[in-house]
Amino acid sequence: MTAIDSHSTPHDDHAHDGGHGHSEYPFLAHHFETPAQQFDSGKLGMWVFLATEVLFFGALFAMYTLMRAKEPEVFSFASNYLDTIMGGINTCVLILSSLTMALAVHFAQRSKKGPLVVCLLLTFLGACGFLVIKYFEYTHKFDANLKWGPAFYQPVVENGKPLGAPEAALVTESTPAAATAGSPLTVNPLIGKPLPAEASSIKRAAMGPSGLASEDAMHAHDAHGHAATGDHDLAMKTHVYNAQMPVNTHRFFGIYYCMTGLHGIHVVIGMFLIGWITLRSIRGDFNSKYYTPVDLVGLYWHIVDLIWIFLFPLFYLIH
């Protein structure tokens, strides 16, 4: 330790102009001493922000865990209505856009303007692709009234009739199985025959893939010749009348839209951020000395990817 204030020494003579050799680094803000300090601050700030994002989604994951622990049958039933292939493609799209983002940071670090801009544009395209696929997924479900809360129990009406509503002859209370099982829910109106008693009991978690309700319903339609095409669509649209639907199934879709929707909002925000740094890259703002915004937007974009990496199996890959 020395009595000399070594820190201020080299700068003191030009301290009046807010010195610290800032002229060498035009990007250096006045309250930072060195580019490293500025970079580290930005990076730490971003990580702290990402921590808030983790907690933000964390509460939703907590909610998911609780709901699933309480009603596993809802999740195994309802996840069949989600399109695993579309979800899988979306996962790959996000991973690839994460890759291009990481590449963008790499090229920014090496002052390669051309590849940087190309990578950012590819990342932007990836974000667009993700949202387009998501849009088709959502509209597909909306058409079938696979929505939240009350809307979930609104039968889909086609040709003025509720789709999949049982015939008058199929009124369920009169079947003997209902009386013996002690539960009114023992007839699948789409199949038209009594179900095994355990199939209608509340706990359905153990049913496994053999209990894939929508597929059952689909086959039933084949047997009755009601619908030759679009079986899966029909099963989706007639979910209200599906005898195997557990109580509270609407909650699955409630949290599905909450979590994927919030994630989608983050993707949209990410698109704005990527667009912004793309424009700045085209302007030539970034090089090996200064690329902090690219790095930070990159971190944000990776956490969006990271959250999707968990959302995908939790919603699409369960049974």
Binding site: P35, F61, A62, L103, P189, Y291, L306, F312
Partner: protein, 139 residues
């Protein structure tokens, strides 16, 4: 901070701050991530009972770790930045852990069947639906 000397790897080729991750690591990471995605989708069609969800979560955890370590440069980052991510996840685990402990405890007291709002809705919109008979009050 001047760039002369080497024609190829001048100062412009090296970041002034931060860590430059080689291209091959980035591509390798992405490849592994894509392969893991295909695996996890494939496992979905194999019935392993309860194990399915744990495998899926485990693979997701591996993928997330890869993204964090290589795409997000955490492997070479400052310890406090690493701690920030791990710490925030720890607090999420805390939230899930305590609420789960509690909800498991009071779960047996919950009434099963359609909640009142759902029941009313069904009564108006689809009284014939089998689910409409799952009233809380019937049980």
């Amino acid at each position: 901070m001047s760039n002369h000397s080497h024609a190829h790897a001048g100062a412009d080729e090296h970041p002034l701050v931060g860590h430059l991750v080689p291209l091959w690591i980035l591509f390798a990471t992405a490849t592994v991530l894509l392969v893991l995605t295909i695996i996890t989708v494939a496992v979905r069609y194999v019935d392993l009972g309860e194990a399915n969800i744990y495998i899926a979560i485990g693979i997701a955890g591996v993928k997330a770790t890869l993204v964090g370590l290589y795409f997000m440069h955490l492997k070479w980052d400052r310890p406090f930045n690493q701690l920030t991510l791990v710490g925030s996840i720890a607090f999420v685990v805390l939230l899930i852990w305590f609420t789960m402990l509690d909800s498991k405890q009071y779960e047996p007291q919950l009434i099963r069947g359609n909640p009142t709002g759902v029941q009313t809705e069904l009564g108006q919109k689809a009284p014939d639906a089998p689910i409409a008979k799952q009233n809380q009050l019937i049980r």
